[in-house]
Symmetry: C2
Subunit: 242 residues, 2 copies
């Protein structure tokens, strides 16, 4: 991915109008080649090359570039997402930020490690007692507009201490490291959110869909993740339809 | 600034509800100390410590942390802005990204240098013939809402190829380096935009307020900067009140 950054690569629009480049495709192909060699009986679900053996006990979920709109506009806030599910439960999640040299790795039951170049430390969410003290990050308000959720989103953004825009997967790493309190998004795909679950939950946070249900491969792509259960509950209440 | 990043510094809300930290204050004090020593008869306008000798021939304009909302949420997309005006005309502009190790320096009449750690190269805007091919970046849609400009903003964002959110001053560096085509913002202060002018214009782009007038210390804080004059003109047309 790094070698293609800011190299004026061609941008193709997929059927859903999201951009894709040779960097997305090469990075996913590279990950798939490693998995085929190392664990040929595992399943793979990837953003660019689809699904193989999704009924396997172990299934990898790959998003080679989460934040392709950042990537194609020269911003380093994009990442590679890797999740491993066992029997449908996410047991490993990785957010890798290739241009920043930062990586979060969460293993279910074992917590989260944050690596910044040569340093490594445990990542932990911070406490936040109430929504009006919460720093919220979300990638774009247009993901709510697309799904007809602008009224709910407006209620939420006006109730928090501060909404901040941009970031894609990086926002969830910032949540796991206790720099922010809440991430709310919509219109996500399975490969956008599955890796984030072991990271946010492993750091002590709470992750669900907008109705408070656990996130699964079949979720509707609306996510609420908070570092403190109190903020999660208060955000959920505002996100219900009137 | 680097030493305070992600150190859980106290966040104070200024009268305009924008956040400020000890990092903003120390960084501006450090710059002012250098200027007082090196050029005591120059004027200084700074975000945190106000105005001194604004009638001087040379006036420095300082924003120690542009993107304090990014800074306080742990994102590295914030920068230090330094401008030097002579008789009211910006002749030097610097965007320094302390966490990314990147810097744009523009000198009127001499072009723009982009430094990324140990490499340096000339920055140049790219061509873009029309708005529907333009990649647009803006920090937050709420800066338009605050000024009652949502209708104009909505017209523009729907007319471009892709709007992308977040970034603060970094967006203007990306514009000068030809990674994007357009930045439109509102509700900015003098110290938010003055350093950007020699960088965008020096890289071949066009900078103005929303009526197409040159930006000065007395502008209303609404800016349109484009890499190609055609996109600038088309964006201006959509930003006029109906």
């Amino acid at each position: 991915v790094r070698g293609h950054f800011r190299q004026n690569v061609a941008i193709h629009d997929k059927a859903d109008e999201t951009p894709v480049t040779i960097a997305d495709r090469e990075a996913e192909a590279a990950m798939r080649a490693i998995l085929t060699e190392a664990c040929p009986d595992h399943g793979v679900i990837g953003e660019e090359y689809g699904t193989e053996r999704e009924d396997a006990e172990y299934v990898w979920i790959l998003d080679p570039i989460d934040g392709t709109k950042s990537f194609v506009t020269g911003s380093p806030l994009f990442g590679t997402l890797i999740a491993l599910m066992r029997s449908g439960e996410p047991m490993l999640g990785v957010i890798n930020m290739p241009m920043l040299g930062e990586r979060w790795t969460g293993v279910a039951g074992e917590g989260v490690v944050f690596q910044a170049r040569r340093d490594a430390s445990a990542a932990l969410c911070r406490e936040c007692p109430s929504l009006d003290e919460a720093y919220l990050r979300t990638t774009s308000p247009e993901m709510f507009e697309t799904e007809g959720l602008t009224a709910q989103w407006d209620r939420l953004r006006k109730a928090v201490k501060q909404p901040v825009y941009g970031g894609d997967c990086y926002n969830y790493g910032l949540l796991a490291s206790g720099h922010i309190d809440l991430v709310v998004e919509a219109n996500l795909q399975t490969y956008d959110y599955m890796a984030l679950i072991p990271i946010v939950e492993g750091a002590g946070g709470v992750a669900s869909d907008w109705r408070g249900r656990p996130l699964t491969v079949a979720s509707d792509g609306r996510v609420v993740m908070a570092g403190d259960a109190r903020v999660h509950a208060q955000a959920l209440a505002l996100l219900q339809p009137s």
